[in-house]
């Protein structure tokens, strides 16, 4: 029985600033303070039902909602890019509920909410990273029972993890974990860094920025204060190493960034491009050129100047849409002008 009233036609329900009520924010804030006091330890919290689906960033959203204020500039990325649909959706959520100032520029942001990547540009003191975490428990795949993994953390009994990693080496000659690669924090807790590629793990170590992790469905918050030791687990004879590519970014020529593989035809054609879309755009604006930038521009995959992608984006795009009209360079705009559109990819975009 709820004391609700059906809102009148024009009535706008008044939501709290950043959606969460103040009592909930206090509860999350208390959890955050304990999380920074015990780096890498997962603090249980009373995760709320959010209007976005569990597993779609509700942990990160609750943290951002509990910390954001009028002085902040928010950047939201998914897979390194600002313009993936779920990042757009979350950014929109904070624009709407917190009137948040947002930016795609890593260096302008005071809060960066992310799923699966750490930006390539070095983070700065005062910046806060907020990670969306699907599975906060690094031991879960080895021991599904919470009651057991809690004891393992309590007593720092991480032998099972070492055994698992060593089994990998015995079988494949190396540790086969490529993302969500476990780390040891402040020489005490084994922590899941969230599904970032292991390429990003070294960026966590002694980072000048505060890093907060939120798992909404699993109801856990954990944190890395700035300048905290974060070691990727490894063995003396099998030291930790990150991914590398045999070629630089096809668009900006960067040789130091994490690359996404883009399939460009059905005959095995491949292009490797930066996953951090802002990093790639910044480099191109500075004049860096990748070997495939010309091809990509010619085929419409990249639009170097402020373009008009209405046609390419199909009926879904309206002309006055600020995001569209403000578009800078973007790869993978799905079809060049006049080229036939693939129905499948069009469906996906919807």
């Amino acid at each position: 029985m709820t004391l609700h009233q059906m809102p009148a036609e024009d009535a706008k329900p008044a939501y709290n600033y950043a959606y969460l009520d103040e009592q909930t924010k206090r509860m999350i804030r208390r959890a955050l303070l304990k999380a920074v006091a015990v780096p890498g330890y997962q603090v249980p919290f009373g995760s709320r039902e959010m209007p976005l689906a569990r597993g779609w960033g509700t942990g990160g959203i609750q943290i951002t909602a509990a910390i954001i204020g009028p002085a902040d500039t928010l950047k939201v990325i998914d897979q390194g890019a600002d313009d993936t649909t779920n990042a757009v959706s979350i950014r929109k959520f904070f624009e709407r509920t917190a009137n948040a100032r947002t930016s795609e520029a890593t260096e302008e942001a005071t809060i960066i909410q992310t799923r699966h990547r750490i930006p390539e540009a070095p983070l700065k003191p005062g910046q806060v990273m907020v990670y969306q975490v699907p599975m906060p428990e690094p031991l879960r795949r080895l021991e599904p029972r919470e009651a057991e993994t809690r004891k393992m953390h309590a007593w720092a009994e991480y032998g099972l993890m070492q055994v698992k990693l060593y089994e990998d080496i015995a079988r494949y000659g190396e540790i086969t974990k490529t993302y969500d690669y476990p780390v040891l924090v402040n020489d005490r807790y084994v922590m899941a860094p969230s599904p970032i590629p292991k390429f990003d793990n070294p960026k966590m170590h002694m980072s000048p920025s505060l890093q907060l992790f939120g798992a909404g469905r699993e109801k856990r918050i954990y944190a890395l204060p700035p300048y905290t030791s974060v070691k990727s687990l490894d063995f003396e004879d099998h030291p930790f190493r990150i991914q590398s590519w045999s070629q630089p970014c096809g668009l900006c020529g960067a040789a130091d960034s994490y690359l996404d593989e883009v399939v460009i035809d059905d005959r095995g054609g491949r292009m490797f491009v930066c996953s951090d879309s802002h990093y790639c755009e910044t480099r191109r604006a500075q004049g860096h050129r990748g070997t495939m930038l010309g091809d990509a521009a010619a085929s419409g995959l990249v639009q170097p100047s402020s373009p008009h992608p209405e046609e390419a984006a199909g009926a879904a795009v309206s002309k006055d849409d600020p995001v569209v009209s403000g578009a800078s360079t973007s790869i993978l705009r799905d079809a060049p002008d006049g080229a036939p559109q693939d129905e499948g990819s069009r469906e996906q975009r919807m």
Binding site: E49, A53, R54, D83, R115, R117, W245, P309, S330, R349
Partner: protein
Amino acid sequence: MYVAVKGGEAAILATYDLVAEARRGDPAVPEISVAQIREQQALACARVMNEGSLYDKDLAALALKQSQGDVIEAAFLMRAYRTTLPRFGSSQPLDTATMAIRRRVSATYKDLPGGQVLGPTYDYTHRLFDFELMEEEGQSAIDSRQSELAAADDCRLPTADCLDATMPRVPDILGAEGLMETEEPPEGDPRPFDLTRDPVSFPADRDVRLQSMARGDEGFLLGLGYSVQRGFGGTHPFVGEVRVGEVAVEFVPEELGFAVDLGDVTLTECQMVNQFQGSKEVPPQFTRGYGLVFGHSERKAMSMSLVDRALKSRDFGEAADYPAQQDEFVLYHSDNVEAAGFVEHLKLPHYVDFQGELELIRRIRREREERLAQERDAMPEAAE
């Protein structure tokens, strides 16, 4: 390519329009009203109220309309709304013994005080299509059915003058004989835990388990309850009683200091009677599995009571070898809104992680090829 389109926001907005289109279907067919759903799809509304953890028939009907009848999506809508509601306090405990009965059946006694009340049940309908429902029922047909029910002298309608004034709950009858496990509130009768406000830790107490199951997925609990019956859990249940009806909700406002009637809720309660061998300290007795849910939701209440009993195995010193007996397994996986969110998040882009996997598998294969080639070169005869 859906990932990097700068028009992502416009594309998202377009999905809203497309959903609205799909929801409405053929505009030549009249639109369904929320009131029609509330009145004519009441069992679906009950499920949405249970899994959405909110007793509000209008909102449940609206949720079903908005979600095109997708029950889990509808429950999600209810929960996202529920979480924003201010809380004024807790009601007084409901007394199901005073329920205005619509239906009440017991499998343990042939007859009992108050008798068996079949009420509206599909149990004895033969599952044959009633093709007359393809056509709208005229007002005259409705009138004649109602007058026939009212005129019947065999008490077809469970009105007050047809039913006994008291309908004791079956476990209370057994309890009077000392055969039923007694259930006392915990010391000091604290306010029950609320898992929507506080994180659960394990082992979970019974209040947490019952709350979790009351809002858990009906299908999941049905499957678990069934597994108990089939031997994946060692209980031997009898339906002590299933009762459906209306119960008054009372609230004591701080400033008044006395109970105010807030209205009635429809509830289904199931008490399952199970055997227990007893122990050195306790003589053999029956034990209880309990299910209480919103609306007329017998299947859910029965499933819940089976799993409730299974989850009590630890309290009785029984082995807890099967899924239905393990609180962490049941509680973490019965929440269909959470489960749906995590299963469906797999359609979000994962290409950064996948790229890591691609890099790895290609390298491992390349290194394997190189190793095999070296071995072939080292042993040319063997290769031939």
